[in-house]
Amino acid sequence: MSDVTRMTAAQIAGLIAAGETSAVEVATAHLDRIDAVDDRVHAFLHVDREGALAAAADVDARRGRGEELGPLAGVPVAVKDIIATKGVPTTAASKILEGWKPPYDATLVERLRAAGTVMLGKTNMDEFAMGSSTEYSAYGPTNNPWDLGRIPGGSGGGSAASLAAYEAPLAIGTDTGGSIRQPGAVTGTVGAKPTYGGTSRYGLIAFSSSLDTPGPCARTVEDAALLHAVIAGHDVRDSTSIPQPVPDVVGAARLGATGDLSGVKLGLVKEFAGEGAEPGVIAAFRESVEALVKLGAEVVEISCPHFEYALPAYYLIAPSEASSNLARFDGVRYGLRAGDDGKRSLEEVMSLTRDEGFGPEVKRRIILGTYALSSGYYDAYYGQAQKVRTLITRDFTSAFEKVDVLIAPTTPFVAFPFGSRTSDPYQMYLADLYTIPTNLYGGPAISVPCGLSEGLPVGFQIMAPTMADDRMYRVAAALESAVGTLTPPEL
């Protein structure tokens, strides 16, 4: 049999269901691949070999008893380290949570287990999901399998790199401002941000609660849809979970894969299709638009005049919510405690703990958020950002009266070399320029590979209306059928 680590999740599931391989064999092949390459890639912060093999053996036993199992039973999955996994270390790539083992599973982890998927381990990320390169991980960056000297995107760079390095066929990410889609784009993989409220936040370590959205990462659109279907759906433990049925994303991906987009209207975001992006990114994007037209899609240019204010609004709203959410890390209930010599007060110990436990980007955002929420600045910063959020939402709703989905590049530039954007934080923020509007609106969006620029992957982004996640999967699968998937160089 050929190498299972090169197969899609759908293919792996098919082989296991047909009895041509076992879940244990599949898990072993991926764990061996991690052993062989992860010292160079560093996609994982923790590999749970024992847990993975036990879960795989359980799937094989259930199949042996003739139990009906789900469509991804026995398929390995890598999980971003910001998601609580019972008894398995969960750090959000921060020193302040080093060694913490959650006493419970996130809802989506429960669903992954119930579906018979096999969790391989926890993936690297920017600390508390704040960053676009994994350079802000307290445990060292992840290297992009396309070029080990370049960033894998962020914050979910570990999840994306684990796919591009064939260490896992599926991975889970979280997207607050682009943390699933931008890593997907720069690693040549697929990353989908579901509708906010379409996937449960219960068990996510909170960064910006009005924006955080967990979602699927994969090497093909169909695989992403299969994973989406497993984790999505209403959860009573998340107060912003939407009590509606999950759109048929798998059916939509399969429909799109037939390569017929007749009757589908695409809105090309005028403000994101020209200046600000690298020429190679624009060229690959434009070629893909032509490919979609050949499949029967109609393309019109749509102006979204407030999108240019999305980045500033986001960098006020997200840090504001983060400054509040991260107050829980106080050295009392979990994680690090520093400077407790029996003489210092609680407040002193708390301040020392937080200074030692948090990295520079987290501190910057806590201070920025505290500032934006202070009396005297609230109206000018946080209050104004919330009004801009309304205007961005109006841009989306008026666009969706004219077109089915919006399209744009995923990120303005291909994977950049390490260290090139860390000295000026705002230069790092620009990586999220095209992904952020969707988060502020709350709708779904997907990044799918659309070609290369200077030998590095370019991502194509499709944004859909709230709870119309199926639409983006259809267009993404059609594009994939036209341009194909990308294969990175051998490691």
Binding site: D330, K363, T370
Partner: protein, 99 residues
């Protein structure tokens, strides 16, 4: 003119319970100034009559039935704590001894 001074950053760090070093203060003050100057242009959008959006999902709170459900045991809840005593979280002193 700088949007934010070194003194303001020091004050905000104290409010945020971050015992930042002098070197961190120097660095953060410059970086936060650049960030604030870049995001300040949201003030250019005329939005006086626009309602704010705090959240994209128009849901109101719901209540579950008031029935006992399984929850963490005391041991599980304390398992990740840096210090415990008598089945509780142990914290450094909160009040001055004179108080």
């Amino acid at each position: 003119m700088a949007a934010i001074s070194r003194e303001e950053v020091a004050h905000l760090a104290r409010l945020s319970r971050l015992a930042v070093t002098e070197e961190e203060l120097d660095r953060f003050a410059g970086q936060l100034d650049v960030i604030l100057q870049s995001v300040a242009r949201i003030g250019d959008v005329a939005a006086d009559d626009i309602p704010p959006t705090s959240h994209s999902v128009p849901l109101t709170n719901v209540y579950r039935d008031d029935v006992v459900q399984p929850c963490l045991t005391q041991d599980a809840a304390l398992a990740g704590a840096p210090d415990t005593a008598e089945g509780r979280f142990r914290v450094p002193r909160i009040l001055d001894e004179e108080a």
